[in-house]
Assembly symmetry: C2
Homo-oligomer: 422 residues x 2
């Protein structure tokens, strides 16, 4: 073991990493996932891995519920309750109470709902404050909503978090932030920024896409008003698995969201011609849920609940710190620059490095079985999903990165050519 002078984190030798895996209280969770051979998967913040139980659920939905039960399965197989039942499970992972979270639609669609609900609770105020570096879809959704409402509503974007203190003023209806930044993993202080919003009479809307299942989130402890989040990243819900929406209980009865489809109606099967919202969180439902995708997501959600966010966070911090130390030790002099906060308390479960040729480097790494992600501009993004990433994996990933950089293996036409990635 050597100390990395720059970080203060310890550079762990391979045998020490192996010992950590042996001692890891979450080690057994890796067996609940079905991971491909020869891959070190550091992109669980983009798409989580496959829980083994997912296939059982899918086959049960297909062979039993859909085939046998057909229409009866809405009642008899519990399809009807899925959005609320899984919402309650997710609530337990993000510091919300049962009845405050519902699973539905996509993160973008849910953001539109909660943002519109929040705006309506703040009549006379017309500004949504956010960060220019927020995940783009959040800004696009706010932009679309502001244009539709059209009464001088606008989006006020800041370039650095400290500018939020000035941007949140008496004209601010909503402070809309993503808790953990998708690019550099920087994590906001949810409680402090929610207080900032409330102090100026605004509401706080949080996007937990890179938080749920990655860091400890305490929505009610932070007095958050509304939130949305994703289940296909650290919650391992499956590709495009439905997202979730949170509305604090104190707002539920009085808030209104414009995607007022029949699933949010107090009595959808009475087939009234006028909309009357369900009393609770159900009013954030809209249309019929994608049952198969939603049902399968329960496998990953259950694993996270069993692991507990506290244990996941502890291992995540250890993995991130070890990775930073290893990369800065092995890859010194190759032009990499840490893009994530160095302090764990300010960082989610990912570590990003900046490099001019980041895209090509990530392609070359992928060829060596190390899957991370690339984000403009020049960001190599490594996500650490503590349920299936081992300490040994990050040691090997750091060595692969060293090899790619030292040999300039990335400097090949096939790595430099871009194409659509997610």
């Amino acid at each position: 073991m050597t100390a990395a002078p720059e970080t203060g984190y310890t550079v762990l030798a391979p045998d020490v990493l192996a010992q950590r895996d042996v001692a890891d209280p979450l080690a057994r969770f890796r067996e609940f996932f079905d991971l491909p051979e020869g891959v070190i998967y550091l992109d669980g913040n983009s798409l989580g891995a496959l829980p083994r139980r997912a296939e059982q659920i899918a086959l049960k939905v297909l062979r039993h519920d859909w085939r046998e039960g057909l229409i009866r399965s809405w009642n008899e197989a519990g399809w009807h309750d899925l959005p609320r039942r899984l919402g309650d499970k997710i609530a337990g992972l993000v510091g919300a109470a049962p009845g405050e979270v519902v699973m539905a639609d996509s993160t973008s669609v849910n953001l539109f709902k909660v943002l519109a609900a929040a705006l309506r609770l703040r009549p006379g105020r017309s500004v949504i404050v956010s960060e220019r570096d927020n995940f783009p879809t959040d800004l696009y959704i706010a932009e679309g909503l502001a244009r539709l409402v059209g009464q001088g509503h606008e989006l006020r974007l800041v370039d650095t978090p400290v500018q939020l203190n000035e941007a949140v003023r008496e004209d601010c209806a909503v402070l809309m932030l993503t808790h953990v930044n998708y690019r550099d993993g920087a994590m906001h202080d949810m409680a402090a920024l929610t207080r900032l919003a409330h102090r100026h009479g605004a509401l706080a809307v949080w996007d937990l896409a890179h938080s749920a299942g990655a860091v400890e989130v305490d929505l009610n402890g932070s007095a958050a008003d509304f939130a949305v989040g994703c289940t296909y990243k650290y919650l391992n819900g499956g590709p495009g698995a439905p997202a979730f929406a949170f509305a604090a209980r104190r707002w539920q009865a009085q808030c209104e969201q414009p995607l007022s489809g029949w699933w949010g109606h107090a009595a959808p099967f009475v087939f009234d011609s006028a909309y009357r919202p369900e009393a609770g969180i159900g009013r954030f439902l809209c249309g019929t849920p994608a049952v198969l995708s939603m049902a399968v997501a329960e496998a990953g959600i259950d694993l996270m609940a069993e692991a507990t966010p506290a244990r996941v966070r502890a291992k995540s911090v250890a993995l991130c710190e070890a990775f930073i130390a290893l990369v800065e030790h092995h890859c010194a002099g190759f032009g990499l620059e840490l893009a994530s906060p160095r302090e764990a308390a300010l960082r989610g479960s990912q570590v990003s490095f900046r490099h001019r040729d980041g895209y090509a480097i990530m392609q070359a790494l992928a060829e060596r079985g190390v899957l991370g992600d690339y984000r403009e501009p020049g960001i190599l993004r490594f996500g650490f999903a503590p349920l299936y990433v081992r300490y040994a994996d990050i040691g090997n990933a750091a060595l692969a990165l060293k090899e790619v950089l030292a040999t300039r293996a990335w400097d090949q036409p096939r790595h430099l050519a871009r194409r659509a990635v997610t």
Copy 2:
């Protein structure tokens, strides 16, 4: 064979029904579905049956794409193209051109998008005209949108189709109709009503929930402006399978929809902070699609394309006419009243009967293996999915209905007690 005097349709004897099955050009399609034993399924207009290929697709998505490919599958397994590729297949079933349909979200969410887009194309007009008997979620969505836009926008509802002629005036921005009514199966003349809208400078938005895969739809031949539809009914896409949205090519470049999520961006992976919509139908996408549910839906869509809407419609008309004749023959005197149009050209692929005790009757029928659906007030709804419903099935269903009515088998507490149904 006896002639049913009331209908003019022929009452077919069991042996004749059996002969029709033998001669049915669509008979072989039943084998492509996995249907439960002992069930006559006449609720395909609520949830279509399971295509056998659905399981193969689900296992391929789970075992190959998700497990092996992980994040790479967005490109390499074609997940990224799913909404457009399946949209093009659906386009071929509803009289649209490739590039005019995209698969996404739920019918309700898509209706919000196209309705908002249509409203914006008609500035200065503030009325959405529809029918009070439209499927409730359509009215709820229009109501939610009108309240959000809030500039005197309103929903003008008529009680009978003929009143549309007066309701569509110069203040009308959009005529929003469901092509085939969910309750009684009455089918509108899409071309004539679209002309009515256009004559007054309004746009026509069609909901094809009970049309796609059931009747022949010619969106472009009718000059329809926008449409939405469902894939989990007659298209057999699976429970809550993602819906679709149509925008006529002439509107695509100039129209704008407010659910402007990153999937509708011209270059989502550039991560611009400003929204710039894709040039074509892609701008009607919003968030990440529910891949598993969407991929599985291809099985049913492909079967419908192979069967062709024309052949499906021909058999549907024959099934409906035969069922009306059989029920009116066997069940005369038991208080049933045909609630659907008697003329095939005015009817979709369902036949509804009215009865004071409709709910309990449908429960008693279900106990006898005949699954239809109940809709308030007092409507027994029988949907005919020509890909897997046989002529013999409708003969047996009519006889079961006769038995339930003749013996008053429905008059039991367990049948009379209501619960949530879809």
